[in-house]
Symmetry: none
Subunit: 413 residues, 2 copies
């Protein structure tokens, strides 16, 4: 089955946003064995949308539109498809009810132009949109499958995952199954060096390394008639990789490091508190993205000023005076201080220089100390991260989460 995506929106052609939807859709289709052959972007112009749609109908079995489903006059996707295929737009009552409901919940008036969003081409079905007013559209036209999704990725992605992919998976012959291994503290080159013979020697499954900020992943992908066969192809390859570089492996598939840490805290029933300086609350934010974390996360403190470090964490004035806020000693007192004041099993601290200002030859931008305290031990790690302010915040939090993971693993096994 050949698919292509068509993104509709002048903002794409003006370079105001990037067509990330095409990437999200391609990745999802690949996993169910549907080949994507083209991506197209076109502006909010009926004639040009029509031309692009005509070309797509000639060469593809599945056409996925994104964008142009909004309430405004320049939202033209449904109108153009409907007029090109001669399928008049009809009011879909359940969709209208949903839209009315949406505005009611928001306590805002529904305007006349929102009615337009409840119109669907004859013979099509709506795709549920949990995040916004525009329903998606699923239309079988002869042998062709035409799908229309809204442009905002936060609306589009759940609709893709929950409705479109399950639907298309039924029509696809092959299953593609992937397993992702996630590594920390090993570079892409070294990792590849250690398993090069496996990468070169394999065609099903394939092994593809991918470097992201601060981590490397290996994707093992098998193609087979069913998922069980694909899993069986992957298993021995995964085992061999774990044998060689298992000490750097920390997770699988979509698990984030904060999910892993939250899982370890919840199962071991260990409470945690966090004292952050340069990361400004990012570690607490990441951990509190995990539902249920309130059972173990007691508090966080963003001690940006020295006074806050003294008042809330009992860091000694002499320590700050002698060693400075960015030092091993301060990180240690912060970790102990938050642990004791919050009365938790674990205390974590981060203090460093995120930049762009504030660096010196002795304490350059990117210097970060991370502290960990529990009832038995206090340790501090020193890091020198590269990148801009945001990168340094991210890398610091990743390092702190990995540190907590290692300590919990070490004590829990």
């Amino acid at each position: 089955m050949r698919a292509e995506t068509i993104a509709v929106g002048s903002e794409l052609l003006l370079g105001q946003i990037s067509n990330t939807n095409a990437q999200i859709i391609s990745r999802a289709l690949q996993e169910i064995g549907v080949d994507v052959y083209y991506h197209t972007c076109v502006g909010d112009n009926e004639e040009r949308i029509k031309q692009v749609f005509k070309i797509a109908l000639e060469r593809s079995d599945v056409i996925i539109f994104t964008g142009g489903l909004g309430p405004t006059l320049d939202d033209l996707t449904k109108e153009t498809v409907s007029s090109f295929l001669n399928l008049p737009l009809q009011l879909d009552e359940p969709s209208l009810e949903r839209i009315k409901d949406y505005f009611k919940k928001k306590g805002k008036p529904m305007t006349q132009n929102n009615y337009k969003q409840a119109l669907l081409p004859e013979g099509s079905s709506p795709i549920l949109n949990r995040k916004g007013t525009a329903p998606g559209v699923l239309l079988k036209y002869g042998e062709k499958i035409i799908i229309m999704l809204p442009g905002p990725p936060f609306e589009m992605e759940p609709m893709l995952t929950e409705s479109v992919i399950p639907y298309l998976a039924k029509s696809s012959q092959n299953t593609i199954f992937s397993r992702v291994l996630k590594f920390y503290e090993i570079g892409e080159s070294l990792l590849e060096e250690k398993i090069k013979d496996l990468i070169v020697g394999q065609s099903n499954p394939t092994i593809a390394p991918l470097a992201k900020m601060g981590e490397v992943t290996l994707r093992i992908t098998a193609k087979a008639e069913d998922i069980e066969t694909a899993r069986n192809l992957i298993r021995p390859v995964e085992e061999e990789i774990v044998k060689r570089v298992g000490q750097y492996l920390y997770g699988f598939d979509n698990e984030s490091i904060e999910e892993i840490v939250a899982g370890l805290l919840l199962t071991s029933k260990k409470s945690i508190s966090i004292a952050e300086s340069c990361t400004g609350g990012l570690m607490a934010h990441k951990l509190t993205n995990i539902p249920g974390i309130s059972e173990v996360f007691e508090r966080g403190v963003v001690s940006y000023s020295n006074r806050a470090k003294q008042e809330l964490l009992n860091v000694k004035a002499e320590t700050l005076g002698e060693y400075g806020a960015v030092s091993e000693q301060t990180a240690m007192e912060m970790a102990q201080g938050i642990r004791i004041t919050a009365n938790t099993d674990i205390g974590v601290s981060i203090t460093g220089i995120a930049g762009p200002g504030g660096g010196s030859p002795e304490k350059p931008v990117g210097l970060v100390y991370i502290g960990y305290a529990d009832s038995k031990t206090v340790i501090v790690e020193k890091h020198l991260f590269t990148g801009d302010r945001m990168d340094i915040k991210q890398r610091s939090v990743d390092a702190a989460l990995h540190m907590v993971r290692r300590m919990l693993k070490g004590s829990g096994d």
Copy 2:
């Protein structure tokens, strides 16, 4: 002059990378008044590249390829263009010298397949690549301009800026200039309703609404022979829009709400402290993304537990007992508490239910109270947000930042 981009590379269609080149190129072309009408991505397949190229030649004056100029067998852009137009590939000696030089400097051996990169279609000229081995190609074919650039953005972008844009600017008559107005607390539909006559009545400048999570933007775009004329076309339209919906306008162009708030705090020299519950540190994180914020941001507290609210913010046990942690009263005491303990001009608090668990009929998921305290006043806003845990955290922080902005504007004017 109509332009389009064609990105060549199977990694795009597999969703491994996103076609950010299209965005970079579009933005640059827009500034010199060249309209981009289409973006296409196609895989490393000669037949399909040919088809896409054929379509592009029929509808565009300028065609910019990215990708497929590498040394390997699946790099096919030049080969396909050359065979389709019947222009044989010829060795370009200066390009070969540059490639040899590149390897010499790196101290690496030049392999046979790198010779391929010095081959150019008859009648074309090389475009200098300072960052890699593949030269770009500039080819005039009748009235058409065909440009080929390498795929990696760090190679592509300097070539675009230094060579392609100056070349195309000479052929283009126009400048396009855009102004973006950012609105909060007004929906896309209502906003459009209020300025519909302007949208419909205008062709230069054009007005285009775009909805993002929690905000709506209006882009006003003018086309003129120079930037000053374009600005003059935009000004009266902008003034008319401000007259009608100015009370919802909060910023322009790429400014984020946290940048705006940070700017207001810094210029008014007002210090701030933040007490967060359901947002888990996200507000402190966002604000501390702004360099220099340490001058005014004293501390943040993530008071996840009731004990933390009492110990760090002096919220009364009776208040928590009687009204609960998610209540107007608690939000008020949190804002006052953080302001007084941190000794700052402003104290902000957020307490709510981010879900998915923890909701009840009286206090559903999405219920959030936001408090603001300064020396003169304490106010609390009640919100009911929709979406998942992450959405509710984001919307709560946006609402809190907008509240601070409004208060600073109100007192500062």
